[in-house]
Amino acid sequence: MALKNRLFKTILFGFAFSPKLNINILETTRIAHFFNAKLILLHVGSKTPEKESKVKLILSEIEHKGLEIDVQWKEGKPIELIERACKTFAIDLLIIGALQKENVYQFYVGSIARKLTRTVCCSVLLLIKPSEERVPCKSVVVNGLDAPDTPFTINAAFYIANALGAPQITIVEEIRQKDIQVSVQDDKSLKKANIVKERLKHREEHRVRKIVKEIPNDFKKKITIKNQSIFGKSGYSIGHYAEVVRADLLVMNAPAKSTILDRIFPHDIEYILSDLPTDLFIIRN
């Protein structure tokens, strides 16, 4: 799969006037700079001269001058507006500031972020810790699920790692428990299960190697590539893994359309969304 030169041409950031506004804008402009993209800042709410001057002041202080930045003011329901804006402006990447852990107080903010993640038509970047000064991104973890979107996601991860200057990518293959088909009950079944696991691991690694092989060398030469197979709950394990290895960015496939049932019986990406381990990049093809 050949990678487009610029994966993210237009980036949208919906902002609110919170104490973190300054940091949020600094971080998003930095990202727009790395991706060489146009940045649209959207505020859902009324436009007042006071607010306008505040934004202007912040924008005058950003590190990377010469960025194409467009500030939009709209009134209405946040989710609908952002969804519509993604379509009308042909947005490639939506950036949302998210809180690391959802609890009752943060539920409102968190739920907007999660809802958007599920419904918008473009890729989403959830930032849990925007910072005033640049924190270099050192390690990227990307999923290697056996899914049709995965090759594109891995490609995108390499593109992102290059753009951000991250020196290491770990591709995590989550292998579902049910694929093993042998339940461990005694020494004999344990041996059998281990043989099956070893075989599955090889199969998965082979599959991922094939994807990596097709990535142009230019993207790979500066990056150490690691593989890690994990047997466990898919969608959960990778988040926990990213936390354990202290990854700076987790890149995931976009979830398929989810229903109310998925909220009640969380699966795949829901675990990560409810307990964000790191910044999360969701790639939608």
Binding site: D186, S229, Y236, H240, V244, R246, Y271, S274
Partner: protein, 735 residues
């Protein structure tokens, strides 16, 4: 020779041993079978039927290896309750209906086996189970004490029976019935045999188990009396009642009450207790297995269920796995399931051949055996053991014990679970910790790429509520592998989890592997017991570090002794000597702890806590590192494998350095520094060979000292040892 023929040969070779140990076990199983059935108010023979059926069925279909199956002491109280309530006062009717309940509970157990519910036993807090077992012990003891003293007709609740103990002893002085006095004498003598048996060191005496000595003596006495033409002083209601012909006088269950509420409750209690007793016993016996095999608990559950159905149909009580008889079995050299089969075989032979003699056994003698069994379940030592773990465990233990005594087993164990949960909430000062994470997965396991050991990380909390998740992962690892179990992301670990983990640690150790717990050192604990609940409380300060050392800390202390180093567990904030390493340029060291140091070279190994980044982006990281001052000045350099931290060093003005004639070394390691020439001189062939042939470490030199790091996490004790040894050798080479 084919493997199959090999197996047959091994089986035949081991047969004599198994036959022998089966015989010894049957000697215990006979009196216990009679006694346990009697204590449940079922006909004594029903216990023997359970043992015979259990041995025959489970030895063929079971999934464990050296376990013995038969009537269990845990069942006494449930069966007693069932028999006395289901029959509406008529004990015999109650027995017949209870048989039906036993059959149904057997079917439920088969179902549990098919549903792979072998993990059921893990959902019960350890102290609550201890409390329940103690309550069962007191229940058995309270009634059998009276029978031991010749009072066969007494009835009532456990509490009222306990209250009558003084009166029962007084009665011996008041009564003028010889039979009561003779029974009491036999009972007390039997109890003395049970108590002092283990204290007599005589090979001949120890050949026969204590319960069988009692049977021999009392039956022998009756023959002696007949020989002297003296009438046996005990009438038949003081003796064991065994039907005329055991094979034709079988009783059959009465299924008439099957849909009544009482019946369903009985089935539920019987199944619950039978499963818990069996599962706990299987787990315990696995630890005794000389061949270190892993039992298939679900297969065993199915076999036990089937055995229970058959036993119930023939008038026998429940079949469960029993720990005491199983350990006797192992001690006598059993190696496979055939021992259980021979136990049943000999038992059947005894009953068929010695029916006449069995009828001579006084109830008081059996009661004495049971009093001893009951006491063993409820010794004050149990409370002591529980108390040592922590005060909260006493509360759990006593709540379960008292609730069980005053109500019933099901209420008792439920109360135990509830109080444990409440105590956990109080101790962790958080309800949401448990509530919001209970349904989520919390375990990550993967094989670490270098070294191939398994790494398991546990998040949120780990208690009896979700221990099965961790257990599932641990079960998937072969016991000869090395495992690092990391609790640093886990805020609360309870006694049940730690105790179960400890049993895994034992098993792994026996089979050549290891499990090491890391990340628990920072958790607070209230007692020094290794299973004390460990928790991290926000804003709380730990005061007495040295009083509550974790196992890892104790082992570190031992390593310090081995290397003749000093061990200091406390926090130390004097970290300035580390800050001029490039590694710590952008990282802020908070403090270090678990320090091992030597005065000779001033080398030290420690767990360091440092932060990366600032403000919200800050991450707290804990790493074990080794600091070694060098005797001479060396150029500043870093040696790294992945090149991951490389760019930091580039910022520090370092450049890559290649060593001539060592392409392999250059390919595998990233060596960088400022003074290329001096560094190239430092890396002699000897040093390069040493580095190439040892496991990888990140090494950094600031000119005067070395900093050695293995991984960006705390190291297990094994890894610490390896690192110290590596450092020592490296230090020597650089001299």
């Amino acid at each position: 020779m084919t493997p199959k023929a090999n197996k047959t040969k091994a089986f035949v070779e081991a047969l004599p041993k198994n036959i022998f140990s089966g015989f010894v076990v049957s000697l215990i199983a006979l009196p216990l079978g009679l006694g346990l059935a009697m204590a449940s108010e079922a006909p004594p023979i029903s216990g023997v039927i359970a043992a015979i059926v259990g041995g025959l069925v489970v030895s063929f279909l079971g999934g464990s290896n050296v376990t013995i199956t038969g009537p269990g002491n845990g069942m006494v109280i449930v069966l007693l309750t069932a028999i006395s309530t289901l029959g509406d006062g008529n004990m015999y009717q109650g027995y017949l209906i209870t048989l039906a309940a036993i059959v149904v509970s057997g079917l439920v157990m088969i179902l549990l086996g098919f549903l792979k519910m072998g993990k059921l036993a893990d959902f019960f807090p350890a102290s609550a189970i201890e409390g329940m077992l103690a309550a069962i012990g007191i229940g058995i003891l309270s009634k059998q004490f009276h029978i031991m003293l010749g009072n066969n007709t007494i009835n009532g609740s456990v509490i009222s029976l306990l209250k009558q103990f003084p009166a029962a002893i007084q009665n011996l002085w008041i009564t003028d019935a010889t039979s009561v006095l003779v029974a009491a004498a036999i009972g007390i003598l039997s109890l003395l045999i049970m108590v002092f048996y283990s204290k007599i060191r005589n090979g001949f005496f120890q050949l026969i188990p204590a319960p069988m000595w009692i049977i021999f003596l009392v039956v022998g006495l009756s023959y002696l009396l007949t020989a002297f033409n003296i009438e046996y002083p005990l009438p038949s209601d003081f003796l064991v009642n065994i039907p005329e012909d055991v094979t034709t006088n079988l009783t059959f269950p009465n299924f008439s009450k099957i849909f009544q509420f009482n019946f369903i409750i009985a089935v539920f209690s019987i199944t619950l207790i039978a499963s818990i007793e069996s599962l706990l016993s299987i787990k315990a016996v696995d630890k005794l297995d000389p061949l270190n095999r892993r039992s298939n608990v679900n297969k065993d559950l199915k076999a036990l269920g089937l055995a229970t159905v058959v036993s119930g149909m023939l008038g026998g009580i429940n079949v469960v796995t029993v720990i005491a008889r199983s350990s006797v079995n192992v001690n006598n050299g059993a190696t496979n399931r055939s021992a259980n089969f021979f136990q049943a075989f000999f038992l059947a032979a005894f009953v068929l051949l010695f029916q006449e003699q069995l009828r001579k056994i006084p109830l008081a003698a059996l009661a004495a055996i049971l009093v001893y069994t009951g006491y063993k379940l409820a010794t004050p030592k149990t409370l002591q053991k529980v108390a040592r773990i922590g005060k909260e465990q006493i509360v759990i233990f006593l709540t379960t014990l008292l609730t069980t005594l005053f109500t019933n087993l099901i209420t008792g164990i439920s109360a135990g679970i509830l109080i444990t949960f409440i105590i956990h909430i109080i101790l962790s000062k958080s309800f949401s910790l448990f509530f919001s994470h209970i349904a989520k997965p919390n375990i990550l396991m993967f094989k670490e790429p270098d070294g191939g050991n398994f790494y398991i990380s546990v998040k949120y909390f780990c208690s009896f509520l979700n221990f099965y998740k961790l257990k599932n992962k641990l079960d998937e690892i072969a016991e000869d592998k090395d495992v690092v179990l990391d609790f640093s992301m886990c805020n609360f670990v309870d006694h049940t989890a730690l105790e179960s983990i400890e049993s895994y640690v034992d098993t792994f150790q026996k089979r050549g592997g290891s499990i090491e717990l890391i990340g628990l050192d920072k958790h607070g604990a209230d007692t020094e017991h290794p299973f004390a609940i460990r928790k991290i409380l926000p804003f709380a300060k730990r005061s007495h570090v040295e009083e509550t050392l974790t196992k890892r800390q104790l082992q570190l202390k031992n390593i310090a002794l081995d290397f003749k180093w000093e061990y200091i567990p406390e926090k130390n904030k004097k970290t300035a000597f580390l800050s001029d390493f490039v590694f710590f340029k952008s990282r802020e060291i908070r403090y270090f702890y678990n320090q091992l140091k030597t005065i000779k070279t001033n080398g030290q190994l420690m767990d360091v806590e440092f932060t990366e980044g600032a403000f919200i982006a800050r991450e707290v990281i804990k790493t074990t590192l080794l600091y070694l001052p060098l005797p001479r000045n060396v150029p500043v350099f870093t040696l790294d494998k992945e090149g991951l931290i490389k760019y930091i060093y580039h910022l520090a003005g370092f450049k890559d350095i290649a060593i001539k004639n060592h392409p392999d070394f250059n390919r595998r390691f990233y060596l960088s520094g400022e003074k290329s020439k001096a560094i190239q001189e430092l890396f002699t062939d000897e040093l390069i060979l040493f580095l190439e042939s040892n496991p990888y470490y990140h090494i950094e030199c600031n000119g005067a000292a070395l900093l050695i790091i293995k991984k960006e996490r705390l190291l297990s004790v094994q890894e610490v040892k390896a690192m110290l040894y590596f450092g020592k050798q490296l230090h020597q080479i650089l001299q």
